[in-house]
Symmetry: C2
């Protein structure tokens, strides 16, 4: 495996989770973030974004929150780049960072937008058979892009090439809906009972894994995926329909 010099921007929970495997694979990691993560094992951390950008990276990986992506990406001092670099991101929405990166990243640098469909919990025991979605937005250095994708492929991820638009359409129906139901169940303060059915146990698990992610992440799924609002409406109207069916049935059984 080719050793890559990878610079990570935004060193929160998900970046730290990815870094563990990248370090295991022998890549050289540097990072910068709003907060101070100096002293993190196996990662050369820079508080100062300028110093970070003056290093020669093969790949710069954006791992910041969706909500802060615009501010963070616009603040990157791209003029300090010494050579064309592959920019990649892992945000859980895809059209939005794709657009931002196309606007901001210098023309001679390559661009791949990705979404690992797993996290610290579902990927705890390895990444085998977990899905890794990506769009090759602007790739000229094929070898470098392959080496980067191979970080995930070599761990056994299901590699799925898909447009950012298609991703967002599907993720609104699946991931955003899951997070919404998890947050709703959390609002309802559901907890295990002595008479749990298997189905209810699954809902408790969905609730618990949802609230482990930050509210920034969840609100990013809503604010920056243009398909999410419609899904929230669909959820509300589906509940109304189910409720009406119950009420009709109740009226009929009264007669």
């Amino acid at each position: 495996m080719v050793t890559l010099k990878i610079g990570i921007i935004g060193f929160g929970p998900f970046a730290q989770f990815l870094a563990k495997t990248m370090i295991k694979q022998g890549h050289l990691l540097t990072a910068t973030s709003r907060s101070d993560y100096s002293g993190h094992h196996g990662v050369n951390f820079f508080r100062n974004m300028e110093e970070f950008m003056e290093l020669e990276h093969d790949v710069i990986l954006i791992c910041t929150s969706i909500i802060s992506a615009s501010e963070v990406i616009k603040s990157i001092p791209f003029h300090l780049l010494k050579r064309p670099t592959l920019f990649a991101d892992v945000l859980s929405v895809k059209e939005y960072p794709r657009q931002l990166l196309l606007q901001e990243v210098p023309e001679d640098s390559d661009l791949v937008c990705t979404h690992p469909m797993f996290g610290p919990e579902s990927g705890r025991d390895g990444w085998r058979d977990l899905t890794f979605m990506y769009e090759r937005v602007r790739v000229r250095d094929e070898a470098l892009c392959s080496s980067f994708l191979n970080i995930f492929a070599s761990e056994g991820c299901k590699m799925l090439e898909m447009s950012c638009e298609e991703h967002d359409r599907l993720a609104a129906q699946s991931q955003f809906l899951t997070h919404t139901i998890g947050r709703v169940l959390s609002e309802m303060e559901i907890t295990n009972t002595p008479i749990d059915t298997k189905g209810f146990e699954k809902l408790v698990q969905v609730k618990e894994s949802t609230v482990r992610d930050s509210f920034d992440l969840y609100s990013g799924l809503f604010i920056h995926n243009r398909f999410a609002k419609q899904q929230l409406k669909n959820l509300e109207s589906a509940i109304q329909r189910v409720k009406e069916t119950l009420e009709t049935r109740m009226k009929n059984s009264d007669q």
Copy 2:
């Protein structure tokens, strides 16, 4: 194990599922139902409720739908009973059949209300560690009641003695909520996508197992559990709160 003569009233999917294990255990089964199930393997089926009631049963097990329970129980010709018999039910709500059975079953017959917290799907590979809830509503023949409960205990069920009221309170928060979310997801026509997260896969499973149960069953959980209406309100208002939090966050991120 004592061999019991068990008469089942209402021989739908769940009764047939229970019967399989009872036959395996060597009990003698008869049944009656609205529809004709003559010829069902290992079960002596009577289209005629009078003929059924003239037999000498140790236990009569009510397995009819919640929605039809009042009509079915009130139509039982109890005067044909030749001797005191243990009446039991497996309805997924408990205060309602408890009340009905206390009103209708002759004073000298015993009464136990139960809810096996599993079904044809979750109990497919055996009943080990699955919960069996029961209330001994009126028991004088301890030996008979124990023999009946032992059908479930001997299969490894977690035997849980609980009042019907407590059951309904907890089941509204867990089982009714699970069925509601399953029905809502079904209304939304959710299906697997190529980018499913583990959480979304769980929701698809909840949807699929929910809609396998009849709508009669689901509407019974709502109509005849006095705690269910409040849970539906709680679900609606939790969604409103989550939605407002998202909208507030979106407004703030616009500024």
